[in-house]
Amino acid sequence: MSGANFLFWVYALAAGGSAIAVVLTQNVVRMAFWLIVSLGSTAGLFFLLGADFVGAAQLLVYVGGTLVLLIFGVMLTASGPFINMKTNPGELVLAGVVGCALLGVILSTTGAVAWDALPSSQHQQKLGFNPPEDGSTLRPLGMSFIGLRPDKDLDRKGTSGQLSTGYLLPFEIVSVHLLVVLVGAAYLARAKRRQGS
């Protein structure tokens, strides 16, 4: 077993095991801790696969942002020192069904991908960048976000004709969407004035 495979198993087992621990734990804050381990291990898997940006975004957004807010909310709203969560059997069954359905979707998607047809790192070497194996993983992503696809257009002859489109428009739509959500959140959270005062 190579070192990369060994690390993959370490992270995969940590992610899976702590995800089970999240479900089995009763204490909310300990659940949050196991969730941190699970999401952190997933970030580790992303780093291992050379998807540095996704891994760091996972750490920043989910572990550093969402989970801190979750713990913060628990600390602000808890009535006792260490609150426990009790779930009734109906919720358990419902959650189980949803979880199994999601697992089915993921498994069928994984089976449908043609893994052999994925592009190699030769295009990047043609551009003069280091291949992803050497740690250069961000530039193709950044290029496609500003609308450039040098990995597809490099072999094109001449300067006229249609170029491949990147992800500039989806990226902008998502940004505006997030802005709308932020404005909405600020609107909902604003200090409400009593009527007549």
Partner: protein
């Protein structure tokens, strides 16, 4: 597997040639981690001593004078031995599992940030393409350990400290990341080593002097970074006058000292980011000296120069690392100076400072630095204040730049590591641009 290790690492190359890839890379990771953890342990020794001396001098007393002969330079070591000997207490009301664990969480998060800190030209544990982003992401995890420590202690003081910390750090993360983006926009890369190389030459090439927005961003970043490592005047999480000792009230012995090792190491980490992003990293700022040192070991673009011995490049890198450490330590000294000079803010003032002042200012700086080259281009006809190309050692970072084509349209083209331009027409034609009008 090689994705885990930078191509720059000569140790990785040497070891994997001799003892096989798996063991070679494993051993390289171990060497890097051990070197960083030594810095992580030794730097707080020095900074805590410095803090005591500076605090003493500012308050018109001497600070430690006796332990270890002159200047009390072994005082921290004596303190450390005392802390190891102390009993490791766990309060009866605490959540034992989380209480024991949280110092390690803080420790690991602070340690992880050092993985992408560039010590010298090519001396970096992980030369990630997203270095700046990675450091900010990992440093944001430190707050989790602090919040857990506050929550699991089962004490009201600790809980208040933890809650303040969560509110404060989550807010200050935002202007910190935005301010770090300002020099990143100038550099066009998130790679720490590339950003460092772009600031070679005279110190006027440092990003702090690049344009007015970068200059302001440095000071805003430093303020926000001081708050994000919970140093006075923003140390509300451990405000002694109100909360006994805040989130670490219930801790004792070695677990307590882990919090402080992480705090002082984080102080250096944020100062290191400031040094790499704004203050020219490992360069002295005097062009002839830098070229004599670093051009001898590395060609333009980062590949090793011809005929460089391993020993020679190590000596040069050691000098670079010393310069980096001096710059970083100077910033840590400023943080200590501020702590013993300014009074602590109230918690509502801390939040107001961040959300009503620092956040809008940093957003303004981000917009400003993006508009700056366009403004210059329309006023004086070039995109930089100083005429000529970018710095000699740093102009080969692949970047996207607007160029004019023969058809009087503006296209975005791409310059790769070898200086070749790759056309990638995006807007054809662009109706209103300053560049198009000038043609």
């Amino acid at each position: 597997m090689p994705a885990l290790f930078a191509a720059d690492s000569s140790i990785a190359k040497f070891l994997s040639d001799h003892i096989g890839e798996t063991w070679g890379y494993g051993l390289t990771a171990l060497i890097h981690a051990v070197l960083i953890i030594h810095f992580f342990a030794v730097a707080p020794l020095f900074y805590i001593w410095l803090e005591r001396k500076v605090a003493g001098r500012i308050q018109d007393r001497l600070g430690p004078t006796r332990v270890g002969g002159k200047f009390g330079w072994l005082q921290t070591l004596a303190d450390g031995i005392k802390l190891i000997q102390k009993e490791d207490l766990c309060p009866g009301a605490a959540d034992r599992f989380l209480f024991r664990l949280s110092p390690y969480l803080v420790f690991v998060a602070s340690f992880g940030a050092f993985l992408t800190l560039p010590w010298s030209d090519g001396w970096i544990a992980q030369n990630l393409d997203i270095g700046v982003f990675f450091m900010l992401a990992v440093m944001s995890l430190e707050v989790i350990g602090v919040v857990f420590a506050g929550y699991s202690s089962g004490s009201k003081w600790a809980l208040f400290g933890g809650m303040r910390e969560a509110a404060q750090v989550v807010s200050y993360e935002i202007p910190m990341a935005i301010c770090a983006l300002v020099p990143v926009i100038v550099a066009g890369t998130l790679n720490m080593v590339d950003i460092g190389r772009m600031q070679s030459g005279w110190f006027t090439n440092w990003f702090v002097l690049h344009d007015p927005f970068c200059c302001l961003a440095f000071f805003v970043y430093f303020t926000v970074a001081t708050a994000s490592v919970k140093r006075a005047p923003f140390d509300l999480a451990e405000a002694e006058s109100e909360l006994v000792a805040g989130f670490h009230t219930e801790y004792s012995g070695i677990r307590w000292s882990y919090f402080f090792m992480a705090e002082y190491a984080s102080m250096f980490a944020v100062s290191g980011i400031a040094t790499a992003l704004f203050l020219g990293g490992w360069y002295t700022g005097i062009a002839p000296i830098d070229e004599g040192l670093f051009a001898s070991i590395r060609e333009v673009g980062g590949s090793p120069a011809e005929g460089v011995t391993t020993l020679g490049s190590y000596v040069v890198n050691l000098i670079g690392m010393t310069i980096f450490l001096v710059k970083g330590s100077a910033l840590v000294f400023f943080q200590i100076w501020i702590r013993w000079t300014l009074p602590r803010l109230r918690i509502d003032q801390v939040m107001t400072t961040c959300l009503k002042y620092l956040l809008p200012i940093s957003c303004f700086l981000l917009v400003g630095v993006s508009v700056w080259p366009l403004l210059l281009n329309s006023c004086i006809g070039r995109t930089t204040l100083v005429p000529g190309e970018a710095a000699a050692l740093g102009n080969k970072v692949p970047r996207v730049a607007p160029t004019t084509t023969g058809r009087k349209t503006v296209a975005i083209s791409l310059t790769n590591d070898h200086g070749e331009t790759i056309p990638g027409i995006l807007f054809d034609p662009v109706p209103i641009t300053a560049t198009a009008e000038r043609e």
